[in-house]
């Protein structure tokens, strides 16, 4: 028991998490690779549904450089396997500034309630 403890102290790598060991060796850990995979899948789904395009169009901080389409790619090495995702962002015209916040409408005063008026309504 004591020897085992000493042995671990003598070999610090045995007590480090696998991720730390992997970083020391200059390779991504299994957990990091898994996170990369998840990220790549999320980005691919976002691109597929057009969500990313919508975000780019709505965020004035992101500029689209092409009038037709913008593309980028990301890849993750998975120990021999390469997961490459090409993101194609559909071109959308820049969204105009709109105010979609709810409005507070004024209430007619009592004196105005008796004014003759006509109505507009859906018909």
């Amino acid at each position: 028991m004591t020897e085992n403890t000493v042995s671990r102290r003598g070999n610090p790598a045995a007590t480090r998490p696998a991720a730390a060991n992997a970083r020391r060796r200059g390779r991504p850990s299994k957990a990091a690779l898994a996170r990369l995979k998840v990220t790549a899948i999320v980005v691919a789904v976002a691109a597929f549904t057009g969500t990313l395009g919508g975000i780019v169009a709505l965020n004035p901080g992101i500029k689209q450089t092409s009038s037709t389409q913008t593309s980028s790619s990301t890849s993750a090495s998975t120990g021999g396997q390469v997961a490459a995702v090409k993101i194609v962002v559909p071109a959308e015209p820049a969204a105009p500034q709109i105010n979609s916040a709810p409005l507070q409408l004024p209430q007619p005063s009592q004196s105005q309630l008796f004014l003759p008026r006509t109505r507009t309504r859906g018909s």
Partner: protein
């Protein structure tokens, strides 16, 4: 003196207001405007088999010579379709009929309360119970193709060519156009307002409006008809409201989304638009309502001179940036 006139026409209530010095002349002009509305209904209703529009529709696949008024209406409908990217589509009669709007709205509602009605005749000659609406996919044009884009209008020769199987519904611009034309008739006599079932055109100042200029117009609450949402000051322009709660029956409502071919699934209950003309306001309100809040506001933001107030299905009100300058 303010002279008023109200009557039922185009399956809705029409109100005419004219503030003229000569009351006799005003009454005569209002009577002429009233006749005009009935003429418009007789000539351009899709529910009348003998209307000029029904005759044009019956001649689809051919080139027809039409009256100057019908040529103008067709031109307006096609311009509205183009301006809205096809969201306003005057060729979706078959979808309206499939949704159940195959007769005037009174008859549709009467049929619902007295089923089975059995074989009422619609304008295009099909018995309602056995109607075989033209499917875009079976016709020369797929539903995905904008059928309105294939309509040919020659304004010089006043001819219209409808592709085989395509029929026009001018209900989306007809009332507004009639209100604009009636306003032209009445304008020389004094300030006035023409209200065609909520699609209205105002000019001059209302005599009872006090220091306020223009005409006071209440926006109806789509959830509580007869209750005011807000008052607008309409001055030298037009207003129109489109709602999913108005012409409604068990199958849905009359605003078809051409992207789905079904009654629009929108997050809005109504849109009131203000524009230089009633036709423009009518089209803007319909398009914004079908597009929904965010896309509708974005579309409206690109239309100078157009303001809008939206009543959301979430109970909130939304609008264009300039709408607060119009309400009272």
């Amino acid at each position: 003196m303010l002279v008023t006139c109200s009557f039922q026409c185009m399956t809705t209530g029409i109100e005419l207001f004219l503030d003229a010095e000569d009351a006799g002349a005003a009454e005569k002009a209002l009577a002429e405007a009233e006749r005009f509305f009935f003429q418009v209904e007789a000539r351009f209703s899709r529910f009348r088999v003998d209307s000029e529009l029904s005759q044009l529709n019956a001649a689809s696949g051919k080139t027809s010579e039409v009256s100057p008024d019908l040529a103008e209406l067709v031109g307006l409908a096609l311009a509205a379709a183009q301006m809205s990217g096809g969201i306003f589509d005057p060729t979706i009669i078959d979808k309206l009929e499939t949704a159940g709007y195959d007769q005037s709205i009174e008859l549709v509602r009467a049929r619902e309360t007295a089923r089975p009605a059995g074989g009422a005749q619609s304008a295009h000659g099909n018995a309602v119970s056995g109607a075989q609406p033209i499917s875009g996919k079976n016709g020369a044009f797929g539903w995905d193709s904008p059928r309105w884009a294939a309509i040919r209008l020659d304004p010089q020769r006043r001819t219209v060519s409808l592709p085989e199987g395509v029929r026009l519904d001018l209900g989306g611009v007809g009332k507004g156009w009639a209100a604009d034309r009636a306003a032209e008739l009445l304008r020389p006599l004094g300030a006035g307002l023409v209200n065609a079932g909520g699609d209205l055109r105002a000019w001059g100042d209302e005599p009872c409006a006090g220091p306020a200029q223009g005409w006071l117009v209440a926006v109806d609450d789509p959830t509580r008809p007869g209750t005011d949402v807000v008052w607008l000051r309409v001055q030298e322009r037009a207003a129109a409201t489109s709602s999913v709660t108005g012409r409604r029956w068990s199958g849905g409502h009359h605003l078809i989304d051409p992207r789905t071919g079904r009654p629009a699934d929108t997050d809005l209950l109504s849109v009131t638009a203000l524009a230089p003309t009633t036709t423009g306001a009518e089209v803007a309100a319909k398009v914004a309502l079908i597009l929904g809040r965010d896309r509708g506001l974005a579309w409206l933001a690109d239309r100078p001179g157009v303001e809008a107030l939206m009543v959301g299905a979430d109970g909130n009100y939304y609008g264009t940036r300039g709408i607060s300058g119009v309400w009272l």
